[in-house]
Symmetry: C2
Subunit: 233 residues, 2 copies
């Protein structure tokens, strides 16, 4: 069954937004009476029937609603975007498939990418959410300078992934399940000593993601997946 994303579903008449309506009616050629799936990204998955197959505002009625509980944990990955945007796009796609609650982007001293438009990344996240039929859309934040970001972190467990082979603390060993986590992932040139120091002053703990050297986007995904593994009880 075709799946669509519609974050706002007001009471009364429901309809898909213009982009999703066009996709539903023009591309997939759905007509009135067809059943579709609609995700709101807020915990509900609707089985719906098309009442007006309009390519501008495809109206539907809800036949059945499945609601999913929020996970007990909260994974927030804050990552320095890579120069090559494809690498960020696949990080987003894979993280959404595997399960992530929030993604932030850091402007670090060694960042190769100093500007970032998040709209394409949003669309990647939506298509990954639809593909994996996830109930919750992660929050995706705009690029922020590193110092501005780390002073505002709300999560209880705060970690900074730092390439330091003398560092014994493995994220997957020290992070307790069922908690809220924020993990900082640096640029290809890594965090500077000053950035590391600033993180530690702000109660971030230095962690290792394993014994191998990982690219930025691989490190981000490894952190996300590893935390899902320890929470998958």
């Amino acid at each position: 069954m075709a799946i669509f994303y519609q974050p706002e579903i007001p009471a009364g008449v429901h309809s898909l937004d213009q982009e999703e309506s066009r996709h539903c009616v023009k591309v997939l050629r759905h007509t009135t009476g067809d059943t579709i799936k609609v995700l709101d990204g807020k915990g509900s998955i609707y089985e719906a029937r098309i009442t007006t197959a309009s390519p501008k505002a495809c109206a539907f009625e809800i036949i059945n609603t499945i609601t999913q509980d929020k996970p007990a944990h909260y994974i927030h990955i804050a990552i320095a975007p890579t120069k090559n945007l494809d690498r960020m796009e696949w990080f987003i796609e894979k993280a959404v498939e595997i399960g992530i609650q929030e993604i932030s982007f850091l402007l670090c001293k060694n960042s190769e990418r100093r500007v970032l438009k998040t709209d394409r990344l949003e669309r990647k996240a939506i298509s990954a959410l639809k593909q994996s039929q996830g109930a919750y859309m992660p929050r995706i934040n705009e690029l922020l300078p590193y110092p501005d970001f780390i002073t505002k972190v709300q999560e209880k467990r705060k970690y900074i992934a730092y390439v330091d082979f003398s560092n014994p603390a493995k994220l997957y060993h020290i992070a307790p399940p069922g908690d809220t986590y924020c993990i900082l992932i640096g640029p290809e040139g890594d965090f500077t000593e000053d950035e590391l120091e600033l993180a530690i002053q702000n109660d971030f703990q230095k962690v290792s993601l394993g014994n191998s050297r990982l690219r930025t986007e691989t490190a981000g995904l490894a952190a996300c997946h590893g935390l899902n593994v320890i929470n998958d009880r």
Copy 2:
């Protein structure tokens, strides 16, 4: 320091193969006397000095050798290649970064891709090995029909990833550390009932990779990373 891959390093005079020599001398403009790193993919990382900067056969002398022990575990992922080859290429790149010992490709009933050239995937693996400065090159096998493959598996722990939300056995809970593992990852259309049955007859255990629906390549990487996590002691 620039890194090159040279699987065969005979006694006496050492040199890079033609492709790596061209890259070293023509692209990176290295000259006689420069120091480079050479990986043999068999556990040794050499620090070397160029003795003859020839673009056809760049000769070098070994200054220093670092040898790495083989990991105590052995991860063998057998995956049905996706229609889109890019997805297999990134699976290979990421799996090599994270750590994998063997990759096989399965021709399943629901496989969208029925032919696969592994040479491009080999090159992806080599560049990922160089990028992550890994000491061991994984073995990459040609595409095999599913029944031919699963009767020949040597690993002690044999698992089949099967999308079955009633299935409680999570790979990361049941796989013991320090062992040899083979995990079967099916095509987008999943394994057929007959294929599942055949695996179970051949002592494969049905496992889940978590609560979310994963694409083929994401499932392969999740299995690879999850086994690295439980072995990362």
